[in-house]
Symmetry: C2
Subunit: 590 residues, 2 copies
């Protein structure tokens, strides 16, 4: 492609409203253009990168035996009512009223396609002989984002690969899940992302049934927990914590229990300021309703309660924080003054492991505007059970080894999930097994945000000059820059290289613009083509051109007659492995 | 691909609600599945065909120098208000209300993208140096169809290639238009469609500025006019008519003018029944408002007025049928009794050429419930001007040669259109010319309905057994059918062929189902793979297999060890030219 024949509107200034590097750089490099908040046009260079990511995803899905189809964005609301997801999605689901001759048809724009694909399978698959099958599509998805932001990371419209597996048994589901998991690893590896598969909250059928594929990044909206020593990784919701130890030798002398007035101080912050103590000296007492029954949950003041862990510890189907009336009834005090000592009603009390190391703690007194000091386990209160009930924090012990956990912000690029029979039961997707028994099909679902692959890559590998593309995703693999296009010899040599690279099936762009060399170099670095070939008058006089990988500091000279063969070989290697890119950007070749 | 590993839900029965062959066959062959009226899932085979059509379109767009981008479906309503197309589209435009944190955002789902692309260009192109450029995308479009029907021919959601050219001069626009026109011819030729480019109504900048690409088909919703002798073709709106001649020798004796009562008979049908005459004996007198001024337009009773021709003949910007009050004022009679004799107000009267041959005609008497008989031009009324004011009919003379015109139903698959400056002016897309003058960019737009390529092909080339695919669009190019998969030798030979075809990069599917041969043959013909290779026990014993193009009656024997080389060569030829398909289906090789 000649630069002058395509459309690359690079920007010098940082566009208004762009908050994070990937957003700024995608706009500045002329990859995308905003049509409205949360909706972007992919300009020619951006689209080329997007299509490359899409192709990698498609190739690996096909290689894993998944079968591609294409479902429409519009579907009837009635399908979503059958699974209850019209309500579960709430305002995120974009509704559309279609006007037909004599009536209106309520429909939705698909945020994902479980309902549509399950309905399809319900109509066309009826026997175990037709299973297993994994169906997938790569198509636009629509979600009403309350606050679209971070460029293409959070938009109302995005390109998603969604796959759905259909099996006759849990073992089958596990095989399908495993195949998708492995395909995801290959996809993100080929895209040269420094990704981590993390354990995520499991679905209704238990086990380690859900993984998210995360790319650690400063501006990531998600948080993951990671142990550098053994590789254990999980999202914050899911992350286990290793054996707890007291942080300091226990205070040997228990202080007497003391009632202190704390007028108006009900939050951890307020109480610790008022009593001049540290948050970790306090015990939070949270009153939950577990399947409707009130229980008390004790968490150290500086820790964050993890509702999934609490729900599992209570073996409840559903938990929620109790309403103020219930709290007042069971504690005898308004919200903010609950404590394990002297509850008005007899409740089940469970506590996070860290509670066991606390001495002379501070808790609510179950009385308005009052707290207790010198509270001690065993002497003043007892708990029914200790369990892991809180979210992991930086420096927590790893649950798998003797290492420590680190919290890192991350961008989610993929998610694999064992669904079980939720959708097949709601939508009557059943099969006859060999003994003619009718059973619900067992499903899994598997998503990848294609746009996010690009944003996550840029977010984690750019430098102060711009984007740095791996060959696998680059809009063009090689850019040829004649320093002075007005110089006939440079021009001729540049076009000669251009034609030769094309014959080698290298994706090449020639910057044929008649602008200052400085402008070209800035644009070329901003866009981040992996390989730059500079044709200068002085070099040419010696029969040389300069070649440089985007991630290298200095160019190297190469004879004009060798450059196409040499660079083409490098590019072909990089397409496959990305080894140079990974070594330079991540300090590794894997 | 193995048949058992993909998803091909063929149907034996004709699905309910499917009216035309392409719809019936796409459903029965397992190419598509209806999600709701006007929204279809493309199943694996249908998607493969769709992607092939898409790829041909993309290749030819790229070859023509157009640059691909991808605009979002969502865009702000405000953009559409600036061009007035929110009103022009009316209910066809699907509106979506996005809920943001504190406000609602009115947006639309793009039925086409003139506004979005022009706004993009307005922001990023400012100089003649950046022009010309043609931008295109292949993306879903959304239209609220009052009555979705005919399968994928008329849906609420469809895949469209839309291109937009931006030029600095009319000559530039003509070059861009010509390049797209030629690309369209190549596209439809490669897709093996028996298409005809027809002249369509021109835009505001005159000339033959619009063409539709039509595929004649019995169930087409459009009508085209075609001269087999010289190839002249136009849509019904646009078609000119050659020199008119009287259909029979003129009656020599003019009858006396006679006033006859026709109580309640105001339509052509009613009057001709009442007076026992033929519609062609009547003159319709239509009162139009041409830019607000009433005029009378005379059309023979059996002819259809063509408002575009009338507008041009009157040199008006806008015409519309007059309201009843105006009609009553200028004729002195209620609607249905107007005539050229004795109008109450003096009006401009223009007439279609055929009026000049009428003798003793019947017209309204400009009096309620009354008509005139024996009305004669010259004696009883005069007209200001004769012109071509009606739609063409079967057997009309060709405007270009001495042939005759035929009306044919057709399916529109593409449209090229010179837009001029309508959008660039409304959205301030301007450029500085070499003399630093600011001028509006001159635009063209070019659309292809990708789904319609498939439907039009199937509609015109199927037979009683099913679809007949050309190699260029076929979901798979070759199907291998082992008559009996339980026979080890057949199975082995089939898989051997399968692997060998794959090595030749032939798209091959192996019907490995353990079902009766009759079922397989029916399905294979229904889906319409172009080349069938049958591996039978008897043939194998002689070292032979049977090969047959889908459009041939009888198979031919071929030695097992020759078939891959021979068939692969055929397939590669057919991919390029489609010559065998065209010769068999259209009786020509072009």
């Amino acid at each position: 492609m000649l630069w002058s024949k395509t459309f690359i509107p690079t920007l010098k200034e940082i566009p208004e409203g762009a908050e994070i590097p990937s957003h700024v750089l995608m706009l500045r490099a002329g990859l995308i253009n905003q049509v409205m908040a949360g909706a972007y046009t992919y300009l020619p260079l951006g689209l080329r990168a997007l299509r490359k990511a899409e192709r990698i995803v498609r190739e690996e899905m096909d290689a894993a035996g998944a079968v591609e189809l294409l479902m429409p964005s519009l579907s009837p609301l009635s399908l979503w009512e059958r699974t209850g997801r019209d309500k579960a999605f709430g305002d995120v689901l974009i509704r559309v009223e279609l006007k037909r001759q004599n009536r209106k048809v309520n429909s939705v724009l698909g945020p994902t396609h479980e309902e549509i694909v399950t309905d399809l399978v319900a109509h066309h698959i009826s026997s175990y002989r037709q299973l297993p099958i994994t169906l997938y599509q790569i198509s636009p998805k629509f979600r009403n984002e309350e606050r679209p932001r971070f460029g293409v990371l959070r938009t109302s419209e995005f390109l998603m690969k969604d796959a759905y597996s259909f099996d006759t048994s849990l073992e089958g589901l596990n095989r399908s899940y495993e195949a998708m998991y492995r395909a995801y690893c290959r996809i993100f590896d080929r895209c040269c992302l420094a990704y981590i598969p993390v354990e995520a909250e499991s679905g209704p059928i238990g086990g380690e049934a859900s993984h998210e594929f995360m790319v650690p990044a400063n501006n990531g909206e998600d948080k993951i927990v990671h142990c550098a020593a053994c590789g254990y990784a999980a999202n914050l919701e899911r992350a286990e914590i290793g054996p707890r130890r007291p942080e300091q030798p226990a205070v040997t002398e228990p202080a007497p229990l003391e009632r202190v007035p704390t007028p108006g101080a009900s939050s951890i912050d307020q109480v610790s300021r008022f009593l001049n103590c540290r948050p970790e000296d306090l015990i939070k007492t949270l009153i939950y309703l577990a399947d409707g029954q009130p229980v008390a949950v004790l968490i150290r003041g500086d820790h964050e309660a993890n509702e999934n862990k609490i729900r599992r510890a209570l073996r409840a189907k559903e938990i929620q924080l109790a309403d103020p009336a219930t709290i007042e009834r069971v504690t005898g005090a308004p919200v903010g003054f609950a404590g394990p000592v002297g509850l008005k009603e007899k409740l089940t009390i469970i506590a996070d492991y860290d509670i066991q190391f606390m001495r002379n703690a501070i808790t609510g007194a179950n009385e308005a505007d009052t707290h207790l000091k010198g509270v001690n386990l065993g002497r003043d209160f007892n708990v029914e059970r200790f369990a892991d009930l809180r979210c992991a924090q930086d420096n927590d012990p790893c649950p798998r080894c003797s290492g420590i956990l680190r919290l890192r912000p991350a961008i989610e690029v993929g998610h694999v999930f064992k669904l079980g029979t939720k959708y097949s039961e709601a939508l009557s997707a059943r099969f006859l097994d060999p003994s003619e028994q009718l059973k619900p099909i067992i499903m899994g679902c598997y998503g990848i945000g294609i746009n996010r692959i690009l944003a996550a890559l840029i977010e984690t590998t750019h430098d102060e000059n711009g984007i740095i593309w791996p060959v696998a995703l680059a809009p063009y693999e090689v850019v040829i820059v004649p320093v002075n296009v007005a110089d006939e010899k440079s021009r001729e040599a540049a076009f000669q290289l251009y034609n030769a690279f094309q014959k080698e099936n290298i994706e090449v762009i020639l910057d044929d613009r008649d602008v200052r060399a400085g402008v070209k170099f800035k644009d070329v670095d901003l866009i981040g083509f992996p390989m730059r070939v500079v044709v200068g008058e002085r070099g040419l006089a010696q029969g040389n051109v300069e070649v440089k990988w985007r991630w290298e500091k200095a160019p190297q000279l190469m004879p004009l007659d060798k450059v196409v063969a040499e660079v083409s070989a490098w590019i072909r290697e990089e397409r496959e492995t990305g080894a140079r890119f990974k070594a330079a950007l991540y300090g590794s070749n894997g």
